[in-house]
Subunit: 207 residues, 2 copies
Amino acid sequence: MPQEVDKLGTVRVYPDKTPVYHQGDTATRIFRVNSGVVMTFRMLEDSQRQITGFCTEGEFFGLSPNGEHMDGAITVTSAGIQSVSIAALETDSDLRTRILNHSWRKIEDAQNLMMTLTKTSSEARVAAFLVMLAERKARRSEDDGIEVRLPMSRLDIADYLGLSRETVSRRLNDLKSLGLIGLPDTHTAKINQFAGLRRCAGLSAAH
Amino acid sequence: MPQEVDKLGTVRVYPDKTPVYHQGDTATRIFRVNSGVVMTFRMLEDSQRQITGFCTEGEFFGLSPNGEHMDGAITVTSAGIQSVSIAALETDSDLRTRILNHSWRKIEDAQNLMMTLTKTSSEARVAAFLVMLAERKARRSEDDGIEVRLPMSRLDIADYLGLSRETVSRRLNDLKSLGLIGLPDTHTAKINQFAGLRRCAGLSAAH
DNA sequence: CGTTCTGTTGAGTCACCTCAAGCAGTGTGG
DNA sequence: CCACACTGCTTGAGGTGACTCAACAGAACG
């Protein structure tokens, strides 16, 4: 897809933990992750944080209605990021259609997360998080035994799932005790029983 | 705005509590509220429900990425609704831009709701809900004493805010006891102290 | 004037949070 | 090479805010 690369501009590489833009910045460009992981988040006055998404390869972020970024974005790992000016959207009808479709997917993601945040136990949330990461990694996700990287901190996961850092830690170890996952090190999860994990997340068995 | 009406098709009137479309339906059209209130919601297997939004005049709903509705939509009050086929979007670049912008606003709304759902107490959530409705009604919203209609049931509010019906009822009465609001009847809230209500919702004083 | 549906109120429980201590991995300077 | 500090993760103990269950009140409806 070299054509797409052209449209979206050259890839710029960011080190890990590097801000891409800040909440409140004027929004002139929209971004796309080419490699690595980027997270978007919103802050409240009292330094409360909600992580609104972890973006991996192919995902757009920085979509803002008012010309002002409503969230901040920071790299979790080192990441390659492309961007295109919002002005360019005006002229490129094709790209605009693509962004529109992607925006709708983002609405769906946000609504999924809302369900997770309100309707499920802490265990189900953590399980759902792992399932999400696993399904991103592999379409053929029914395979047990695949390993998922967790490049973000426990606090990042907590702020995504609406839990405390301690609860995330506890539930991960619970899932390990149940035999559903393994934790070879703190930033890797091995999915032992994918179906069981999905069930635990409150999801139906099939993909 | 008669031109807009033309683009979006004629207004069709739905009685209250009438489904507009169901979760899982194939998505061929997108909708716009012309009058009244429509709510969108998602269901989980065990009849858990998350209301994803209350749409009032001017708002679009039914935006779906895959040609399948990821949420359901039902009128809360009697409502006038326009719609346009997704196919028509392909040809109408102008409308598409408008929808794109509206979609980004929806993402913002969803993220706002996520903050509310995870980071605030039940009291703050109910206060935030009332503030939201009040600000929709009146741009000049600093006026104390305005009355807000609550056409939806307590359970609807609960399923929007991620609370139980009982908690919504309790917190509304708490806000009444604090003198911030009045409840002349169950489906009307009178905002006595707008600034105080905003503070209670965890929002800064200014609009 | 029952019947039903929605909203309110009370009592008790529990899941998750908070606070606090301990631990492992990593880096730093003597 | 080894104390030392520092950061991120884990584990334990205790508190609490919202849920659940249950009874009641009031409105809507036939």
